[in-house]
């Protein structure tokens, strides 16, 4: 986003907008279909609450409807991420003020993972798909991923348990994520075709 568009975006209320520049509803619907899930995941990373994340994304799409008319099509996704980011931060701050608990939103208990199932990822097929992908990883990478994500061990604990340097544990994790990401993108491309 460049020039006047950026200035307008940053100057309006919580989202930095004052002058309405409506975007066509078809385009908004298309954007919603494409990005809703990924934006909710992103908002969740900040808020650690799916209901708040959904609120942030909803507000962002309202903003897109009202103020997204001048945003260039190529910049829309980045614009949406930024709006969601700001909304999430605003909601988090408001909630922290309301509850007067500083770390509540970043220390959600693991049980809330299944208390708030996430749309697509909660589907059995997708979970099975992820399982299959993880099964294709080398065993040492599978172990790191499982210990860190499922068992919620820290990297230092993992390094101690496996008697490896922390750097090795981190590099295994990074390699595992690369492979998982690559397979996700491959499948996404094949689905699009």
């Amino acid at each position: 986003m460049r020039g006047p568009k950026k200035r307008e975006l940053e100057g309006t209320g919580s989202l930095g907008m004052t002058t309405e520049r409506p975007l066509e509803s078809d385009i908004v619907e298309d954007c919603h279909r494409q990005w809703q899930v990924i934006l909710e995941r992103y908002a969740w990373a900040i808020l650690r609450d799916w209901a708040f994340a959904a609120d942030a994304v909803q507000n962002a799409f309202v903003a897109l409807t009202r103020f997204g008319g001048d945003v260039e099509p190529d910049a829309r996704k980045a614009w949406m991420f930024r709006v969601v980011h700001r909304e999430a931060i605003r909601i988090r701050n408001a909630e922290m003020r309301r509850q007067d608990v500083t770390n509540q939103l970043v220390q959600e208990s693991p049980t809330s993972y299944h208390a708030n199932p996430l749309g697509e990822i909660a589907k059995t097929e997708e979970i099975e798909e992820l399982r299959r992908k993880i099964a294709t990883l080398p065993s040492e990478q599978q172990m790191i991923v499982s210990m860190r994500i499922v068992e919620e061990k820290t990297f230092s604990e993992i390094a101690n348990l496996l008697a490896i340097p922390i750097g090795t544990a981190l590099s295994r994790m990074r390699l595992a994520l690369e492979r998982l990401k690559a397979t996700r993108h491959d499948e996404g491309n094949s689905r699009d075709q």
Binding site: I38, R41, R82, H114, I127, M173, R174, L177
Partner: protein
């Protein structure tokens, strides 16, 4: 891990790892500094969303695998329970029966104790003393016991003595005749 991970090379893999550490709330990540970077780096934000998808998927997979294990356990447990229940029921019945038996024994013992204690009551003792005195009088040839005004109905069997207030008659009592003849009436012919 206290040392902050330096992410100098902003390659995709580094972003992916950094995003994953942020999502996992790893202590090596300064959350607020990272969020400041997120606002201006959409690719990093996408990496965060990707990391959330992986984390959620793995956790869902772990939960579903645990759930599938838990769904098997009740079935196995029910089989075990169905085998154990008769034994438990028998044990319960046995315990109740033993307790009931103890209760019965206890109450009987308590009643006997009460009766035993009642036998030593002063009235019985007094009666015994009176009887002893009466015996003493009889041995002395006195009839003072039967001549007393008290409503004492005690008759000493085989003593041959009869209370003074009882009717003394030579006639056979009717009840004795009836008992001997086995008839229901006092018809003289029937008696004969």
């Amino acid at each position: 891990m206290t040392k902050e991970i330096a992410v100098t090379n902003k390659s995709d893999s580094d972003k992916g790892l950094e995003a994953m550490l942020y999502v996992l709330c790893d202590e090596s990540i300064d959350r607020y500094a990272f969020e400041a970077k997120l606002e201006h780096d959409p690719s990093l934000a996408e990496a965060v969303a990707e990391a959330v998808a992986i984390v959620q998927g793995l956790k869902q997979a772990a939960v579903s695998s645990n759930a599938s294990m838990n769904t098997k356990q009740p079935f196995e447990g029910s089989v075990v329970r169905s085998r154990q229940m008769p034994f438990l029921a028998k044990g319960f019945v046995a315990i109740v029966s033993i307790a009931a038996a103890f209760c019965v024994i206890f109450f009987r013992w308590q009643r006997d104790t009460v009766i035993a204690s009642a036998e030593s009551m002063p009235e019985i003792a007094a009666a015994w003393i009176d009887l002893s005195e009466a015996n003493t009088d009889l041995t002395d040839g006195s009839m003072s016991f039967f001549e007393s005004d008290g409503d004492n109905d005690n008759v000493i069997a085989g003593s041959g003595a009869e209370p003074k207030h009882l009717p003394v008659t030579d006639d056979m009592p009717e009840w004795m005749l009836l008992a001997v003849t086995g008839t229901d009436s006092l018809n003289p012919e029937a008696i004969k």
